[in-house]
Each structure stands twice: as structure tokens, then as C-alpha cells.
Amino acid sequence: MSDLSRRNFFKLGAGIVGGACAASALTQIGQPSEAEARSTLATILPYPRTRLASLKELSVGKDLSRTYPDKFSPISLLKLGQKAINGVGPDQDIVAFSRYCTHMGGTLTYQSETGAYHCPLHYAMFDPAKGGLIVIGQATDNLPQLELEVDAKGDIYAIGVKGLIYGRQANILT
């Protein structure tokens, strides 16, 4: 979306959410100062900074189930074994995505044979190595991808989400 509509969106959001983009709202959750510094997201939403796992818990091709930004939003954390778009970690191959299909909210499973997420409802597929790009299917957005960072201890944190999680008006529920 263009800068212009982004600006309008900001104006709109500020009016409706009631100051959600103000620092006071952000400080209530997580560690916003780090998130603000690192996130590439242009957003008004107060994303928490949430520890998902440590590097040691991951093995190539097997995804871990977590939730983010709240317990009602299941996500998949995955080490692909090859460099991925927006991948983090020493091999830039760790990615995380919403587990809800952006078509009608089916719960996705990762299949290592295809290297893709599959939806059981209407057979959509998404490519985790390509930023959640839709491979095929009737979804109207690529799969929402989590912004990740890895700290010095090897802990993986989620700090935001690119794209709208299925079944929500905003990624952060009000």
C-alpha cells in the first residue's frame, strides 16, 4: 500500500483505537523499546515481544507449535535448513508463520515432503522459504509472517506480524 494510504490509515487508527499507537499503550506489553528499534513493520499495533523457543529446540524440517501474539493465535516455528526470506538465526533459515490459512482459517500443517504448509479445508499451500508466498489456493493474502529476532543467548523472540491473521480485525485483539 502506498505512503498516502498508510498515512490515512494512521490517522484513522489513532482516532478509533484510542491512542493505541501512543507510547503509553506500548509500554504495557512486552519490551516495546527493543521491538520498536528492530521491527521493520510499519504498524500502529502494540505487538508484544514474546520468547518462542531457543535455537537448540529446533531441528531442520520439523516445526514447533507456539502462539503469538496471544494464546488464541497458533503459529508454526520452523527451521528450514536453507536460507529463507526473512529467516533469522545463524543460517538465516528460521521462520515463523500464522497457522491459520488466510482463505477461511483452516489450521495449516507443515509437510516436509513438499516443504510447504497445507490447508485441509480447501487445499491452499504456502511456501515458508518465500515469506509465506501462496503456492496455490484460494487465500487472498500470503501467509502472515512473524518478525523474529534471536538474542545473544540463542533465544528466539517474536516481535510482530506482517499481514493480517485470519479471523481478526487487527492482529492485536482489543
Binding site: 500500500m1 502506498s2 498516502l4 494510504s5 490509515f9 484513522l12 487508527g13 482516532g15 478509533i16 513493520l41 504498524t43 500502529i44 499495533l45 488464541f72 493465535s73 526470506i85 526473512n86 491459520y100 482463505h103 477461511m104 482459517g105 515432503e113 513438499t114 516443504g115 510447504a116 497445507h118 479445508l121 480447501h122 487445499y123 499451500m125 511456501d127 522459504a129 518465500k130 515469506g131 509465506g132 508466498l133 501462496i134 503456492v135 496455490i136 489456493g137 484460494q138 487465500a139 487472498t140 493474502d141 500470503n142 502472515p144 509472517q145 510482530g160 506480524v161 506482517k162 499481514g163 493480517l164 485470519y166 479471523g167 481478526r168 480485525q169 487487527a170 492482529n171 485483539l173 482489543t174
Partner: protein, 820 residues
């Protein structure tokens, strides 16, 4: 590194008092119902269910299939003529029986291509453009229409009606509908009287199913319900998961999974029922095949991986097996059909060994298919089979006999006019055809060859299509168009400051010497428009009221909910402006006869044209009788299935399926003709070893006119792609993402390689229309002489690697699409 598109992480919700409209998808024949919400920018509904028009609690995560989720692609901000800005959300309608709230990637992303000056649709045509000194510059409707009218009239007066050629949409949905089609037909057939007319995706003015019409079977005889009730669904040349997605997901798959068993038992008591079986005729192992197998189990899906261009041999072999087994419907053949003997003498003499050799399909599979199509369920209960075909058959070799052999099999097995049966098209576009009769003959003249490449016409008016890439043998068409339109440019370059009449005189002189005056009417500055002398901006879906029917003849009103950009107008109004101007020019000369041919374009509203168009559908599958917009508003997204039988209690009464109690049909004999000389020459030349099949795919619609402006779609398909078998790729030193050139004597095109086992070695599949590479540069100039329909689906080419395209291959996915 990331270029993957993601929408916003928040969308506004419509307030309780948002304006609401009903509409239908503008794209494919399935015609899913949609609801449109519109409210002023700066306002927004609250998150609680009583605070928004969706009555949904957005403070909570919704369950799957809630039908209340606004994806970012479903939302937009639009600007009206008065400068006011509104939020618009276009959401699938859960109350529509076509889609039950489901949507495809195509229809579900309508919100992202509404016109906006600050969006990728900013390049919508907003003002007429006129050629001036090497540019196309904005001008007034008055000047554009005056020049067009003078040129058309002088050419008509000098050379007669066939000096004016056209290639126009004829379909329903976006850019079409009964309203626009009627005005187009009235202008060109009642007004001009030209035979040099052609339909958007082909070189002539023809039906794609002449043979079905000759057999007495309308193109869309069945209801989507029939696919839920059938014992067997027989798909020919259709990749329905990707191209009729919601018909496949909401009506076919529930049959295969057994989810419609209760419905079968309720509606069709007294006979055994099982979950449906599916037969798919396709040279590719598509996603449709893979999903059907996953849902029904492999033992209930039969994929007939046919050799390109051999459908007639297959279908006749199936008819022969059915007849020899005694599985045909003798009562139906006796009571409802004619010409069986000719059919028997030709179709039923198809040698089975020859059929196996020609089609590449094993005899056991032929027997299996015939069994599933026609073996009676009990001694007294016939099997219910619905045959649904689309472009693989229509655009295969050869159109007339392809369709005939499919319809013949339907007639032989009595699968017409009963629940769970049918034999017709799936449909590409929706339908909305109503026009005065075409003044030409059958077979219709090949306009590409005679009028454009052959120089027969002097004016060419193109609307709602992009023939420089979309027509057959497109490279030669393109080069011809460039050469002839340049002559007019050169003449116009000498007319600075001239009056319109002086310009028209200069144009007249140059078209006499081989020039071509080109008018392009569209919503976007498409590739064909680059050559135009006049570019006319059309309104589209959502910017006017229009009506169309879908693949089960479901007629609905697609409501206007926003203004068109700039001074863009509905196509019917543009035709009316031109007609009125030509009428006035003839009146001024006292030529009353000619003036009267262009009279009667005084409609004030969309509905007046809709009512006028009703005479053009009388007695046809589209017949909507006395239906009005008010009735259709009441009926919302479910509308009424045509033909309308009567108006009762103020509402139209429709027809679920055709031929339940009437209809007499005719067998059309057909036999496999072998390949035409153009294709034979390619087959005999080792420089062109690859069969090139092609088609539409899941993400995009037709020429990608909207999709090129959808970041989601163009991000997925930044270039056209070619599916190539890994063995062939290995031989040629090609890998995923390489740019490759395909070439033959007709033309050349480049595309991105995608390795997949979906095609047999030696066979490739290319996306058929993409503005960054037109497959049709490779198709031959062959058309079926009986129908003037091209053999789009079969050509041959050589392939060479051009190189890598860094920055593209990294962002595109190469995960095979035919996996579940």
C-alpha cells in the same frame, strides 16, 4: 531480501449504518455472490457485535469459516466524483447458494483493484486519449467521438459495412452483461451491419459450441446441484480447482467426499447411491486431479492423461464401448433424438486399438471410464453422469467435432434433463449475451486474417480484450497492427491544428493505402491500446449496474456502488454516444435511411438497456422475460435461474435445469480428423520437439488485466511460467526460475521455467495470457474450418535457455502445485 507482499495488519470494520449492496464476482463463470459495504472515511464500526454491520465480535478470534473475516485484499478506500472518500469492503456472501460464503483468490481480491488514485489501479483510463504527434493525450468525449464518428462514417460510405471491423467482449460479469452487449450488437449489427466482427478471445463471430447448438443442447443445461447429485462427474479439458474453483469446492468435492449422500437420498429416493466418482480428461496431472484423489480416494478418480488434440478418438471410443456393452439409454435415443444412424456409422466405428494408439490411454482405462459413465446401477436404474467440458475441449483439435463427440456421448447415455446429469460447458466467463443477429454467415469470416492482416478493413474497434497477446498467431497479428496503425500515425503527424473533418480526410486517404484506424475501449491502458488512435475509457463492474448469468444460468443484478474514474462511461453509453453522433451526421446530409440505422440509443439508465435487451434473449437459455431490476434487487445474490417461465407474485419464476420435460436432440456425427498441415509441419521438424499446451491457472484471471495490479498475484507470477518435465529440463540445462525462450516459425516468447512432473516428458504447459509474455505468439494460424475456432491448445516449439533472472527466482515458489 523480502519482497513477499503482505496486507495491512489491521482493517477497518463497517459501522452498523454502512451502505450495503449485493453483487456477483466479475470474473469466472461460477459467479459467487458478494456483499459490498461502503462507509465514509474517518468513520469505523466498533469491535463489538452491536457496533458493526457484520454483527461480529471482533474482540475475539473467529472460528474457521466464519464468513465474517475481512482480508486486507477485500478492503479499499475509493474517491467519488465529488471528492469524498469511502471505505469499501467486498465480502463473499454466506447466503448465496453458489458459494455459501466461500470465494476464490480471484473474486476474494476484488477489493484490491477498485479504482484509487493512490493505489496500483491509478492507471485506470480516466479520460479519452487521442493520438497527437507521437503521444496519446487526454481529450474530451466530444472530440474523441467526433473524430471516431467521422472516420467510421466516411469509411462506411466509401467502402461499405465491412470496412469497419470489431473485436469485442460478448460475455457476462465485469466488462459485459446484457446491457453492454445489447448496445454493442445494436451498434455494429443494426447500425454498421458489418460481418467483420469477432469475439474477444477468437478471430471470428462464432459460438464456441456450435455443435452443441446444432444438436439442440444449450451450452449451460444443468444446475450446480446436479454435480452434487451425480454418480459420476466427467470433466473434459478443465482444471476446475483452479479455474472454476468454487463450483469444484462447494458442489463437486462434497459429492466425492460423500457429504451430499443425504441430499441424494432425499431428492432421488428408490435407487442406490454412493459418493460420486470423477473422471478427468487432461494431458496434465493437475491440482484438480490430486485434490479429487485426496478427497474421493484414488480408486474413485480416473485421470485420463490424453495426448494433445485427440479427444474425438477418446470420446468416440467411449461411445462405442457403451453401445457394445448395451449400456446406452435406448428409450432416450428412440424418443428424444434424431440422426442416430449417421452417428453409429461414424462415431461408433472408432477402432479401439487406434483410439489407444492415438490418445495414449490404455484400453483398461477406456473400459473403466465407460463403466463409470454409463453402466446402469441396477437393471432398472441408470447411472447419472454429468459431463462438463471447457477450453481443453473447446480450443482443442477440432472444435466442432470435439463438442459433437462429447454431446453425442451425453445423448447416447440419456444424461440430459434429469437430476444429476447434464452435458455442457463449465464456462470461462459468465454469460450476458443479447444482440441483434450477426449479419455474417457460417462458418464466420476470419477477421484476423481478412480484416486486419489481409487489409480488408479500415477501422478496427477493440473493446474489453487484448488481442495483441490474446489472439491466435499473435505475433503476426501484432506486427500487422503495428505496421498498419503506424501509417495513420504518420498521416496524423502532418495535421497539427487541423479540424476533425480535415483529420478524418487525412485518415481516409491513408487507410485507402493500407492504414488502419484503431479505437481501443477498455478500463486499463492495455498493450493493444499502445497502437490506438483513440483510447476510450470504460466504466467497469461496481461502477454501473449490470446483469449476467453464471454457469447454471443464475441471473442477478450487480449493483453500482462507486463512481467510475474521471469521465469513464459504461460501454453501452459509449456505443450510444458514437451512434448518436453518426446519426446526426447522416441527418445533416439528409440521409434519413442511414440515420435511422443509428437511432434508438436514447436510453437514460442501465435498466432501460436491460429491458431493451430482453428481445435478444427470447426463447434462449438466457430468456429473462419481464424481469426488472427491482425484482432482482429483491432476489439478491441468489437471483433466478433462466429461462424465466413467468412472473408470479411480482417475482420471476426460473428453471433449475433445462430439458426436464421437453427437447428433441440430434446426434452430430464426428470422427478424429488427424492433425492439420500447420501442426504436421511442426511435428515433422526436429527443431520444435516440444508440444506446448497452455491454460489459465489458479491465481489470475484471463489477461491478468486486474491481477497485474494485485500485488498478491503479480508477486506470485511476475513472469509467465512454463511447466517443464525435470528430464527435459535436465537435457536442456534448465533449472527452476531460468528464463527460457520458446520459438517456432510463428513467433517467439520468453517465460520462466518451473520443473514439474505434471506433464509428460516432451510436453510443456505455459500460462496462456500474461502481459510479460504471450503464449499465443507460438500458436499456429489454424482454425477449425467449420467454426473458425482456433486450436489454441496445441502447438509445437523449440526451447532454449536464455539465462537466470536474479531477483525473481528468489521470490517465486517452485513447490509443485499438484500436491495435497
Amino acid at each position: 531480501m523480502s519482497t513477499t507482499h503482505h496486507g495491512e495488519d489491521r482493517v477497518p470494520v463497517p459501522p452498523s449504518d454502512a451502505q450495503q449492496f449485493t453483487t456477483v464476482c466479475s470474473y469466472c463463470s461460477v459467479g459467487c455472490g458478494y456483499r459490498v459495504f461502503k462507509w465514509p472515511q474517518g468513520q469505523e464500526g466498533g469491535p463489538r457485535s452491536h457496533q458493526n454491520a457484520l454483527h461480529t465480535d471482533f474482540t475475539k478470534q473467529q472460528a474457521e469459516r466464519s464468513g465474517k473475516w475481512i482480508s486486507p485484499s477485500m478492503h479499499s478506500v475509493v474517491t467519488e466524483h465529488d471528492g469524498r472518500r469511502y471505505h469499501v469492503a467486498v465480502l463473499p456472501d454466506s447466503d448465496c447458494v453458489v458459494n455459501n460464503g466461500n470465494h476464490s483468490i480471484r473474486g476474494g481480491t476484488h477489493g484490491s483493484v477498485l479504482y484509487g488514485q493512490d493505489r496500483p489501479t491509478a492507471d485506470r483510463l480516466s479520460y479519452p486519449l487521442i493520438y497527437r504527434g507521437g503521444n496519446q493525450l487526454p481529450t474530451t468525449w466530444e472530440e474523441a467521438i467526433e473524430l471516431g464518428a467521422h472516420v467510421i462514417k466516411t469509411c462506411l460510405d466509401t467502402w461499405g459495412p465491412d470496412a469497419i471491423a470489431m473485436k469485442f467482449f460478448d460475455h457476462g460479469g465485469g466488462g459485459g452483461g446484457f446491457e453492454n452487449n445489447w448496445a454493442v450488437g445494436k451498434f455494429f449489427f443494426s447500425g454498421i451491419g458489418t460481418q467483420m466482427a469477432s469475439i474477444h478471445n477468437r478471430p471470428a463471430y462464432n459460438s464456441e459450441v456450435f455443435a452443441s447448438g446444432d444438436a439442440g443442447v444449450a451450452a449451460l443445461p444443468s444446475a450446480y446441484l446436479d454435480a452434487e447429485l451425480a454418480d459420476t462427474i466427467f470433466l473434459i479439458g478443465a482444471n476446475s480447482y483452479e479455474t472454476q474453483s468454487i463450483y469444484f469446492l462447494e458442489h463437486m468435492l462434497p459429492n466425492l467426499s460423500g457429504a451430499t449422500m443425504a441430499k441424494k437420498q432425499r431428492l432421488l429416493p428408490g435407487e442406490p447411491h454412493h459418493p460420486g466418482k470423477m473422471i478427468i480428461v487432461d494431458p496434465r496431472r493437475t491440482s484438480t486431479v490430486a485434490i479429487a484423489e485426496s478427497v474421493a480416494g484414488k480408486s474413485n478418480v480416473l485421470h485420463l492423461q490424453i495426448n494433445n488434440g485427440t479427444d474425438i478418438a477418446l470420446l468416440n471410443a467411449l461411445s462405442r464401448i457403451v453401445y457394445e456393452q448395451g449400456w446406452h439409454d435406448q428409450a432416450f435415443v428412440t424418443n428424444r433424438t434424431d440422426n442416430f444412424d449417421a452417428f453409429k456409422a461414424m462415431n461408433l466405428t472408432q477402432d479401439l486399438n487406434d483410439a489407444v494408439r492415438i490418445t495414449g490411454i490404455a484400453e483398461a482405462q477406456l473400459m473403466q471410464a465407460a463403466t463409470w459413465i454409463a453402466k446402469p446401477k441396477t437393471e432398472t436404474t441408470r447411472r447419472r453422469t454429468i459431463t462438463l467440458y471447457e477450453k481443453g475441449l473447446i480450443w482443442g483439435l477440432k472444435n466442432y467435432e470435439n463438442i459433437a463427440s462429447a454431446v453425442d456421448l451425453g445423448l447416447l447415455t440419456g444424461n440430459l434433463g434429469k437430476p444429476g446429469t447434464g452435458c455442457g460447458r463449465l464456462g470461462g466467463h459468465q454469460e450476458g449475451y443479447s444482440r441483434p443477429a450477426y449479419p455474417g454467415k457460417r462458418p464466420p469470416v476470419n477477421v484476423d486474417e481478412v480484416a486486419i492482416k489481409g487489409g480488408g478493413s479500415k477501422v478496427f474497434w477493440v473493446a474489453g480484450c487484448n488481442p495483441v497477446g490474446g489472439t491466435l498467431n499473435a505475433q503476426q497479428f501484432r506486427l500487422s497492427l503495428a505496421r498498419r496503425t503506424t501509417l495513420v500515425n504518420q498521416a496524423l503527424d502532418q495535421t497539427a491544428g487541423a479540424t476533425t473533418q480535415e483529420k478524418a480526410a487525412a485518415i481516409l486517404k491513408t487507410v485507402e493505402e493500407g492504414g488502419l484506424f484503431l479505437i481501443v475501449q477498455d478500463i486499463y491502458p492495455i498493450e493493444t491500446a499502445k497502437y490506438a488512435h483513440l483510447v476510450l475509457p470504460a466504466a467497469q463492474w461496481g461502477e454501473m449496474n449490470l446483469t449476467s448469468i453464471n454457469g447454471e444460468r443464475r441471473l442477478r443484478l450487480y449493483q453500482k456502488f462507486m463512481d467510475a474514474p474521471g469521465v469513464a462511461e459504461p460501454d453501452w453509453k459509449i456505443m450510444a454516444m458514437m451512434a448518436k453522433k453518426i446519426e446526426s451526421l447522416y441527418r445533416a446530409e439528409g440521409k434519413i435511411d442511414m440515420a435511422s440505422r443509428f437511432a434508438g440509443f436514447d436510453w437514460k439508465t442501465d435498466e432501460e438497456v436491460f429491458r431493451a435487451a430482453s428481445v435478444g434473449v427470447k426463447g434462449a437459455q438466457e430468456d429473462y422475460g419481464e424481469t426488472t431490476y427491482a425484482m432482482l434487487r429483491t432476489l439478491g445474490t441468489n437471483g433466478v435461474q433462466t429461462p424465466v417461465k413467468e412472473i408470479a407474485k411480482g417475482l420471476p419464476v426460473g428453471t433449475t435445469r433445462l430439458y426436464e420435460n421437453d427437447g428433441k436432440f440430434k446426434f452430430i456425427s464426428a470422427s478424429w480428423p488427424g492433425f492439420p498441415s500447420q501442426v504436421q509441419q511442426l511435428m515433422n521438424d526436429p527443431r520444435y520437439p516440444f508440444w506446448v499446451n497452455n491454460g489459465r491457472a489458479n491465481h489470475g484471471w484471463q489477461t491478468l488485466y486486474d491481477d497485474a495490479r494485485k500485488p498478491l498475484v503479480i508477486g506470485r507470477e511476475p513472469l509467465p511460467y512454463v511447466e517443464i518435465h525435470p528430464l527435459d529440463a535436465n537435457t536442456l540445462g534448465i533449472t527452476n526460475g531460468d528464463l527460457i525462450e520458446l520459438f517456432n516459425p510463428y513467433g517467439t516468447v520468453t517465460a520462466m521455467a518451473v520443473m514439474t512432473d505434471a506433464n509428460r516428458p516432451g510436453h510443456v504447459f505455459m500460462l496462456f495470457e500474461h502481459p510479460r509474455g504471450w503464449l499465443n505468439s507460438l500458436t499456429t494460424d489454424y482454425v477449425d474450418p467449420a467454426t473458425t475456432i482456433p486450436y489454441y491448445k496445441g502447438t509445437k516449439a523449440g526451447i532454449r535457455k536464455v539465462g537466470e533472472m536474479p531477483g525473481i527466482k528468489e521470490t517465486v515458489s517452485f513447490v509443485p502445485t499438484n500436491r495435497v
